[in-house]
Symmetry: C2
């Protein structure tokens, strides 16, 4: 549960950001943004002036929001007529999340507030959210513990001849019993993920997903994750899953094989571990995101695996780590073009992976917190390939 | 798999709609819209001139899209420089889905195409999609058969004392093994659903979800669906799940109870069946959506259950059925304000439900196709309450 104190701290940081950008207020309409500041994800709109108290206006369910929101001024959504009168006249520039707000919503609020200029505060919002509080880090550690508990059970049910889909079903069943909430929020407009990927011979298929691995999936309509291909001896099995608990996501990958892996795959996996270790050691405040990516790509290149790094040759993803928290695709991103320095308390899923066409996919992924001593692993389970 | 012929028919219907609205072309950026016309859901942009051939421009994965798309002109996404030159100069007004396109995406494309006016074709797009082809109706019937297969197994695992979450996990496990794709697409910007609801004592909680039932869920961050409450004797158990196969969703609800239901609940359930029967009989081309809703509400009122219809008293949802197909919230909607007549081939989930505070929630839901002889049930399983 979000405390009133922590909500106030989050609002205060937002207000500092608004003032710095010369924006008079923020208007949030996206559920998880509202949850972050208020403690409720009911269908609502959150108004935060750059100075003064926030106001939560609830469409549905007001009853439930009253019990969850820590915003003092929580009220039913006003009529369209009343709505403009709730905005102080000094609000001339209002911040809005252009990254996720559909044009129709923007037009609706712009019509309600004539003369007010809407400005994009997507980056500010994502930057604020990227730095986790002590409470959030505890939540994420708890998510990590629960997800690792499910990963530990894999050797008990992974069998040669089962479909990737059967492996997924067994994993997801245990994840759900452990309290997994299932729905994985992503901010990018064209991304979607059903919990994770349990993939083996289908792992090397390129796909729409902004990651190293997409999987073949079950149809062209749902082209990601497990397929009906069967798991065969000596073919790497990559299990890349999220765990969502109390809204907080962690993301991890482990490798399994029935039998043994080819030496090329073993060697590529060792390179994944080497990259992970380098990045974890350097996951400190001040480290520059794109420099970490360049270093990771450099290690892959030294190992003669540049073409295979983070995707099938020619379809390589251009990152090696991504922020994670209430959404799977948070800031920061360890990628070319991200020039910002890491901050203490950010949480990053580091996932060096290699696609070796004809052989399979190997890699590792753990969620880390950025700390002065280097990355603190929140998904605390041995990294080794498990042979069953 | 979408055939080339059917894709051409869909494009032709869209082009008729564009011409009728005086729009020169459409630009789709939303994955499932693109899938509907092209057969691929890879990360792409689809351009459809009001006259002439469509063009699919693929960001990721071009390799995979080549194997899936039935659009002749399928090519890699062009550079920003090249992009405008691909648009014929006579394109002055371009249709865009303002309902789902984020402001940032709109601004991006508007910058690339200066002087072009963007107009909202959300309704046209949804209207076209609402009428299913023979192929789509077969797909949905297949989804119905598979989902019913899982519902049939419920009496085998539903037990007194298990958590709502355990019931959900058992159901979802079997759904996944049956080939369920899991990710349920919704168009509304603030809605999300993790597959469905397995709810009993938590069923009556109001919530954000635009439906009669939301469930308590596992946390304030994920406040829908199963909770950790246990299933108790004589308390109704409502299982409301979607099944997604080949992208096509069906939606159904059945009632279960360990023991017996109170007479008030039995009576409310009988009223649900009565409403369903009335609507199914009248689910014919030409029937007006809002009149069907009014008739349903009238039957509820005659039974003395107006306050309990489609939600907890004071939190009642204002509809009794919704279109379903590639998305869970398609057109048509059986609700006040929807004045359009039904069309043959539309598919509608009809879900009369009653929330009786302190007693529980009962109701029924089936997915029907609109036909001349009245609704054809695509979720072909007995409607009765199952006592275990």
């Amino acid at each position: 549960m979000l405390t009133r104190t922590e909500s106030e701290q989050r609002i205060a940081r937002l207000q500092d950001g608004l003032k710095e950008k010369g924006v008079d207020a923020a208007l949030f309409i996206y559920p998880i943004d509202i949850y972050y500041f208020s403690g409720t994800r009911q269908n609502s709109v959150l108004f935060v002036p750059a100075e003064g108290k926030p106001r939560l206006m609830v469409r549905k369910s007001y009853f439930r929001a009253q019990g969850e929101s820590v915003i003092d001024d929580t009220r039913p959504f006003p009529s369209s007529k009343e709505f403009p009168s709730l905005f102080p006249p000094q609000v001339k520039r209002i911040g809005f999340t252009f990254d996720v707000a559909p044009v129709q919503q923007y037009q609706y609020y712009a019509r309600l507030l004539p003369g007010v200029e809407f400005v994009d505060i997507s980056s500010l919002n994502r930057e604020l959210r990227s730095v986790k509080s002590k409470l959030e880090l505890e939540r994420m550690r708890e998510s990590g513990t629960r997800l690792c508990g499910v990963f530990k059970e894999i050797p008990g049910f992974l069998k040669e001849g089962m479909r990737e889909l059967d492996l997924a079903a067994e994993f997801e069943y245990r994840l759900r019993k452990a309290g997994g909430e299932g729905y994985v929020r992503m901010r990018a407009y064209n991304q979607e993920l059903f919990q994770g990927l349990a993939v083996s011979s289908g792992a090397g298929n390129p796909g729409f997903f902004d990651g190293a691995v997409t999987g073949r999936g079950l149809s062209n309509a749902s082209p990601h994750g497990a397929s009906t291909d069967t798991i065969q001896a000596n073919v790497p099995v990559l299990v890349d899953y999220t765990g969502v608990f109390n809204g907080y996501i962690v993301d991890m990958t482990r490798m399994f094989v029935v039998g043994r892996l080819a030496p090329e795959l073993e060697r590529a996996f060792a390179t994944s571990l080497q990259i992970q270790q380098h990045l974890a050691e350097n996951l400190k405040p001040g480290a520059v995101c794109e420099e970490l990516f360049a270093q990771a790509a450099g290690i892959a290149e030294s190992a003669g695996l540049a073409r295979n790094f983070m995707g099938a040759p020619g379809e390589n993803a251009k990152f090696v780590g991504h922020g994670v928290g209430l959404e799977l695709d948070e800031f920061p991103v360890l990628a070319q073009g991200f020039k910002s320095p890491l901050q203490e308390g950010q949480t990053v899923a580091i996932e060096p992976k290699f696609v070796l066409p004809g052989l399979g996919v190997v890699g590792i992924e753990n969620t880390f917190a950025v700390a002065r001593e280097g990355g603190v692993k929140l998904t605390d389970l041995a990294d080794d390939i498990v042979c069953v």
